[in-house]
Subunit: 342 residues, 2 copies
DNA sequence: CAGATTTGTTTAATCGATTAAGCAATCAGG
DNA sequence: CCTGATTGCTTAATCGATTAAACAAATCTG
């Protein structure tokens, strides 16, 4: 049963030739190394008969290329990341690469550990959705000359390749949309974070309010900690709706915030959009199936994933390629949760 | 910038000793191979200073162990699989293993291709959520003596290790629950599939109807093709609700069916649970946030994932371990979508 | 037909680690 | 002081592939 693995040597032996010849033939270099036609055929036949499968470890060790991409994301069980992972997987396969995914839990230490495991496995490059305070990773990758692309989030003060959404604009558009629909007191719930994409989502919102001469109150903008989201978001919403000047619309800066927020809004029996208009970031089936389908900023997930892979592959093939920085627009998908105020 | 990688040889050179010694020390075998204490310390110090990182390809090549698990699932962007992948990832890490995930798209050919890529990468074992008609994979793995565990689905006619949910019971419980709540004409929408878990879900449903002397009509049981789910499910539901004897409750056999079905039910403006009681398999945020939270059969995702890894690791360590076949119960989580009929 | 060229194949080093076997030097015991 | 055990380290083979260099035989050239 346990038929030992078939190696080049076995084929060579069976054909009565050296392993070199077998290698030449099976790696398609028969012309280049002028292998005899009949011998080439014979070797191919034997390889097929023995069901030869190359050992990619050996290949990688020798060649220094593993055709493997390390993907570090926050959490594969978050649909945004799961979807993007799927796109990356598919695009990578098209390019002959395999993807190894790791979840960082938005935790810099875990990211660091993951990165090292993957480096030791000799991945050819990284696609990274950065966790907070993980600049160190980026510097490390630069230092060892490892190709990488930041996805979805980047550090503006560090020069790197990246593929991201234009978050300030997305947030601006979300807010402006609510304004146009007649909402007057628009709140935003975001994560408490120094990550640029989150700062941008906050900035875009503030900007839209300003540009449209809308009022703003401190309790309309809430930043909650990722780790304690469940409790904090309740306080945040309580505060936003019960204040002397309660919000009439809410923007959720991420999918996770929306899920937690909507659950509590349901508990409070607030009706969307009559009591509260909603626009959210992220995307998932839940936005369609909510009793009042949720207006959301649709990020170009497919394109983000595909582009990240393409950029990375380009970088792997030519590390001296000049820096590639791509920012894509999100599009607003209007549903009933932001129906016009009368 | 591109500081070449540090190898054992570099450390050996820097310490003025042979690579063997370095290897002994860094792999913690200093006692066993009686390395001098001061030399051991010196080597460790140099390794740390040079920031030595072992090349896992070389290690794997030499030792025949890569501490890598191949995970083949239907689709990482399906929350059920994403969640289970996450559990597997975490449990694998605890055991010192890295996971490589591939999505098969419920496609046997793609599964086969994926399996081979992973075999070539010398994974130590597989966790597989089988696609239809992929018995061949199982036979292949058995033949080459590769440890593996089937997850979520298994082939009853093939003796393998597996970790699954007791689907007949789950389905039975789902149906009985609806019966107990006073529903009289209960339908089931499943996938058209020979996969055992799907047959079992259908069987459990039929059994529950029988045991409770409930009526049954052919148009209450629909099987739709995975590939054409979006159109087919509309026909199916049309047929089920508009027949001369329309259903008053519906069981969705999977998450994907539920999503598509609920969308159409919304379109039809059918009210849950008044027009239609619902129980679904699968699990996701959407069940909580639907206007009428959905009663569902909660599979023990965490335990399924964890157990699959544990079983696989056991098999890897001791391939002659006797067969491990584990079936776990799903629990019914009651929400408003199956509120009692008056 | 001698020398140059081409053709077809082998030899052996290499990637980075592991590990069995071997070899000095030191030490203990008689 | 000799013998045998112990300690500390080195040598070299190995995992499975790649590939530069060498080599022998066949073919060409003038």
């Amino acid at each position: 049963m346990k038929s030992r693995k078939v190696s080049l040597k076995d084929i060579a032996h069976s054909a009565g030739v050296s392993t070199a010849l077998v290698s030449y033939v099976l790696s398609g270099k028969e012309k280049e190394y002028r292998v005899g036609l009949d011998m080439a055929l014979k070797i191919k036949a034997i390889a097929k008969e023995l069901k030869y499968q190359p050992n990619l470890l050996a290949k990688g060790l020798r060649s220094g290329k593993t055709y493997t991409i390390g993907l570090i994301i926050a959490d594969i069980s978050n649909p945004f990341f799961a979807n993007i992972a799927r796109e990356i997987e598919d695009e990578a396969e098209k390019n002959g690469y395999t993807v190894i995914i790791g979840s960082s839990d938005e935790n810099a230490a875990r990211s660091w550990k993951l990165m090292n495991v993957l480096i030791n496995r000799q991945v050819d490059g990284f696609i990274i959705v950065s966790a907070e305070n993980s600049e160190k990773l980026v510097y490390q990758l630069v230092e060892i000359g490892m190709p990488f692309v930041l996805l979805d989030r980047h550090f503006p003060e560090i020069q790197t390749d990246f593929v991201v959404t234009n978050n300030a604009k997305a947030s601006y558009d979300a807010c402006r949309h609510l304004i146009e629909r007649g909402y007057k007191k628009i709140g935003l719930i975001a994560y408490k974070s120094d990550l640029f994409h989150m700062r941008e989502r906050i900035r875009g919102y503030r900007q839209a309010l300003n540009d449209n001469r809308m009022g703003f109150r401190a309790n309309w903008l809430k930043e909650v900690y990722f780790e304690t989201i469940a409790v904090e978001i309740r306080q945040a919403i309580d505060d936003m709706v019960s204040a002397e000047s309660p919000v009439d619309a809410l923007i959720f800066a991420t999918y996770g915030l929306a899920i937690n927020g909507l659950k509590y809004i349901n508990e409070l029996r607030l009706k969307v959009p009559d009591d509260l208009g909603i626009v959210s970031f992220g995307q998932a089936e839940v936005f369609d199936l909510y009793y009042c389908p949720i207006t959301f900023m649709k990020q170009p997930i497919e394109l983000l994933g595909k582009t990240a892979v393409d950029v990375l592959v380009k970088k792997i093939l030519n590390p001296d390629e000049e820096q590639i920085q791509i920012s894509m627009d999100a599009t607003l998908v209007e549903r009933e949760s932001s129906t016009a105020r009368t």
